[in-house]
């Protein structure tokens, strides 16, 4: 039971890091970014390629750096032009970016599965409630908490974090006060992409790498964002933790329905609270 709950915490932590990037980008750009799953996949592959030659930590740094560059470029070339477009247009364009990046990965790395071992320091197991539990999974929780905590501290206590929160609610008011909102876009999308990329490489020793990994986790990240309330970090956190547990216990107790449970949960939440757990009524 405790091990199941811990597995749920591990998966929920990963989902939260991934969903918080989505929330960040949606908050500022109002773009539902289907390419976010591709960021996760690209980060995993780039991190993997560097990690096998230079070590795991350089792999994480490489994934973050590469995805910041991808995010900034995407904001400047694509998202900026989507700012006032129909949501359907943004969905189609970002989904197109997802397909392009998936094909890029297939071309460079092929279609096979890759696996990577956790670093030696984080290998092995610890005994929890009499059962062995991989140390690396505890590292995932810690890394996710550090990333999410860092982002919350940045948003809440820094000047640029204040500008992002202001511009997320009203770009016009933020600009009126002198904030260069056109600079915040690349910063936020780059950061959101880096979060996804780091989540990809951190998840790599826990889940395997394949070109469809982005699309798979993207769907669950959207479920997290929708249940939590689009644009709400607090909601995404609660939602990711619940969804992690639903997945972990669902696989054990309702294996034939496990894949459906996140969507059932989303339907229940939306019926009871259409704006999501902490979302604001429109």
């Amino acid at each position: 039971m405790i091990v199941n709950a811990l597995n749920g915490l591990v998966y929920g932590s990963l989902l939260f890091v991934l969903a918080s990037g989505l929330v960040l980008v949606y908050g500022l750009r109002r773009v539902v970014n289907f390419a976010h799953g591709a960021f996760y996949m690209l980060g995993a592959y780039i991190g993997y390629s560097v990690a096998v030659h230079a070590g795991f930590i350089p792999g994480i740094i490489a994934a973050a750096a590469a995805l910041i560059a991808v995010g900034v470029a995407l904001d400047l070339v694509v998202f900026r032009k989507l700012a006032d477009r129909d949501p359907l247009v943004t969905v189609l364009v970002t989904f197109g970016v997802l397909l392009i990046l998936e094909d890029f990965v297939r071309t460079v790395w092929g279609t096979g599965n890759y696996a990577i071992d956790p670093p030696a320091l984080l290998s092995g197991v610890v005994q929890i409630a009499g059962a062995p539990f991989p140390i690396y999974r505890l590292f995932i929780v810690l890394a996710s908490a550090l990333m999410a905590g860092g982002m919350v501290i940045w948003l809440r206590y820094s000047r640029s974090g204040l500008w992002v929160r202001a511009a997320s609610h009203s770009p016009a008011v933020a600009a009126m006060c002198g904030v260069r909102t056109n600079v915040l876009g690349p910063l936020v999308v780059g950061l959101g992409a880096a979060f996804a990329g780091v989540a990809g490489i951190v998840a790599a020793p826990f889940l395997s790498l394949n070109p469809s990994m982005g699309a798979e986790i993207l769907v669950l990240s959207f479920v997290v964002s929708v249940i939590g309330g689009l644009g709400s970090f607090g909601g995404a956190f609660i939602s990711a933790m619940i969804l992690g547990q639903v997945q972990a216990f669902g696989i054990v107790y309702l294996p034939e329905m496990a894949a459906l449970l996140p969507f059932l949960l989303m339907a229940l939440v939306l019926v009871a609270r259409p704006q999501g757990i902490l979302g604001k009524k429109v």
Partner: protein, 233 residues
């Protein structure tokens, strides 16, 4: 001759294809108190929105201290010392009172207005500094909007319908505050439909009609009835 602080020369501004401002000329001198009056929908707010790049300027020019501003973006006005107290105040509900004020100081323009000074002017904001700005009453939100503008240490403060929805006693307090502010050298551009504040505060006026300046003059040369007649003309 004094160089105008702000000068609009033949400004044409659009919302999409709607041509709202049609060749507007307007000047504000340093430390001057100027009012723009006119009926609803004549383009008064579009003057502010043009400076904030919300309305698109496709013709004419805007000058600050005699220098043309070649390309207007949302942050340009603040960067040149123009602070705006927008219609409806536009207090951000996801920020606390203190954060709303700090946002006003985004550019860290040097000057005498600091958080402490704004708090000493509006003690209620200090008492409730950690609560959301939208939890304040209408009058207090106007204080916050003015405080946010002051945090930018502006040379020119533009107020768009500042008396809207406020009790007369609050409007009187605001008038005194703006008069005191103008005495420190900050120019005021007041965009108002209600004439009481305009008559009490402004030194010069522009009457706007159908997107054009229909008349301009000194406030000492008009009384309430004649100004009202000019607006309705």
């Amino acid at each position: 001759m004094t160089t105008p602080l702000l000068e609009l020369k033949g400004v044409n501004a659009f919302y999409g294809s709607a041509h709202v401002l049609q060749g507007v000329d307007l000047t504000v001198l340093p430390g001057e108190r100027v009012a723009v009056v006119g009926r609803n929908g004549v383009g008064k707010t579009t003057i502010v929105n043009t400076l904030l790049a919300i309305a698109a300027m496709r013709g004419g020019s805007v000058h600050m201290r005699g220098e043309p501003l070649p390309k207007l973006a949302g942050h340009t006005a603040a960067a040149h010392g123009i602070a705006v107290v927008p219609q409806g105040r536009m207090i951000l509900p996801n920020l606390s009172i203190e954060e709303n004020l700090k946002l006003g100081a985004a550019l860290r323009r040097p000057g005498e207005w600091t958080l402490d000074r704004v708090y000493s002017l509006f003690p209620i904001l200090a008492e409730r500094r950690h609560t959301p700005g939208t939890a304040l009453s209408g009058g207090q939100q106007q204080m916050l909007a003015i405080g946010r503008a002051l945090m930018g240490n502006p040379d020119l403060m533009i107020l768009d319908e500042p008396s809207e929805g406020l009790a007369p006693v609050i409007v009187d307090e605001m008038e005194k505050l703006l008069r005191d502010l103008a005495e420190t050298g900050v120019a005021i551009l007041l965009i108002e439909q209600h004439l009481r504040l305009v008559l009490d505060l402004a030194e010069r006026f522009y009457v706007l009609s159908k997107g054009r300046v229909a008349e301009t003059g000194l406030m000492k040369d008009v009384d309430r009835e004649s100004l009202q007649a000019r607006i309705m003309h």
